[in-house]
Symmetry: C2
Subunit: 255 residues, 2 copies
């Protein structure tokens, strides 16, 4: 399916995680803040490039751009989250009635981009095979603060057969602009994760025997920082429910 | 010489271009703007990563950081430039009497970092051999605008023996965080450069027969944007007179 067609379905109200959608096109995390907070967010991204690889920025007043030709960032994502005064204030299927002219939108790379490459190499992706959202966890690893923003690293988890962990590292290393290599392999307790079956975002997956939990930096990280830092108003995609962009995946692969 | 020792010499008043200084340590371009302009500058850098690779940012009120352990960004560069209302307002050897608490400092990678690698490969660097500053030119290539900032790409030029141009491309490609591969090889008129002997910044160099002018994106680019965009107040290093940082060069090399 073409990205524009997928965005039209989401604009019409379809709510679904987007892992596996629109093979070959990059998906993006969103973080949207008032202009007064935009420098803090961009500096946070510059200092934390693994969780926050910037694919594009819509300046204040802009609702579309090259990432979503003809689309509207307020309507074209399956599900959004709203934050007020550092607290989650619900989800919604569009942002039309909460939009403000001073909002700046950051689109960040998403690990869904390298999932196709993992699958092509014969590495199973549990959440795709099980038809659920990818599990994500807040860790005890602090990000580098920036201005008024600080918060923990958020990671996504994929259970990889032990014999394929090295391949998964090698393959995802080739995609530095979409989180790149894992930040952690095995030993979830070292990240402060007590129960892999109770992710902070997304869905739990069954981990088959002989599979190892492998953790990648996740673009939900700035949403955790918005919560932690008491940002007065912010918006984001609902975890796993991404902006499907017009950007081809291959351009994020390095030799 | 250790970077701290070089910075101490500059702090004491030595004025000199820094190409060839402190082998093995990264040098940095500076652009310093009031907080009100900081988002525009960081977004300009994000959209123009070849001329503006961000090595570090000192937030408003900060004058030191990990890039210059124990140093002071207001005194430790050999020569600075001042801009007022989009016009050059002279150079000075320190910034103490023009400093403001709301100033944000951006340190950007510098092509001096890969010069040692070129020399190790036996590629001569004319401006080092001739003991002058590297020649730099404003081009007719527009940068991607960001907020209120727009301006032309600035390039540095090295004359490379025709038989070594491919090597120079290959070697500098390994340093994407310090401008990376050339943006242009030969044909200076295509960049709008009419006379290689009259650079806009730095010094002219003799180009030996059989050498080809090769152009790299240059970290003076945001200073050209500050001029072009009428920024009320900004500071920078004087072209070629860089901040010598404590960051080892090798960490900017990719396989």
């Amino acid at each position: 399916m073409a990205p524009g067609a997928a965005r039209a379905m989401f604009r019409s109200g379809l709510v679904t995680p987007t892992s596996g959608w629109c093979d070959g096109f990059a998906q993006a995390n969103l973080i949207v803040v008032p202009a007064d907070w935009a420098f803090d967010v961009l500096l946070f991204a510059q200092r934390n490039p693994k969780p926050c690889p910037v694919l594009g920025v819509l300046e204040a007043g802009e609702v579309t751009g090259p990432l979503l030709g003809g689309g509207d960032v307020r309507t074209d994502v399956p599900l959004y989250t709203v934050y007020r005064d550092g607290e989650a204030a619900g989800t919604r299927t569009d942002l039309l009635d909460v939009w403000r002219e001073d909002l700046v939108t950051f689109a960040l790379g998403c690990s869904f981009t390298f999932e196709a490459a993992l699958q092509e190499a014969g590495i199973p992706i549990a959440h795709i095979d099980q038809g659920v959202n990818v599990p994500m966890y807040r860790t005890n690893v602090p990000c580098e603060p920036a201005g008024r923003l600080s918060g923990p690293l958020v990671v996504s988890m994929r259970a990889i057969p032990a014999s394929r962990v090295a391949d998964a590292v090698r393959i995802t290393s080739r995609y530095p602009a979409v989180h790149g290599a894992p930040v952690h392999v095995g030993a979830p307790q070292e990240l402060g994760i007590r129960d892999l079956g109770a992710p902070d975002y997304g869905d739990a997956v069954q981990i088959p025997d002989g599979h190892v939990p492998v953790f990648w930096a996740c673009g939900v990280t700035p949403q955790a920082a918005v919560l932690e830092s008491g940002v007065p108003f912010a918006l984001g995609h609902a975890p796993g429910h991404m902006l499907v962009t017009d950007l081809p995946d291959w351009q994020y692969q390095v030799p």
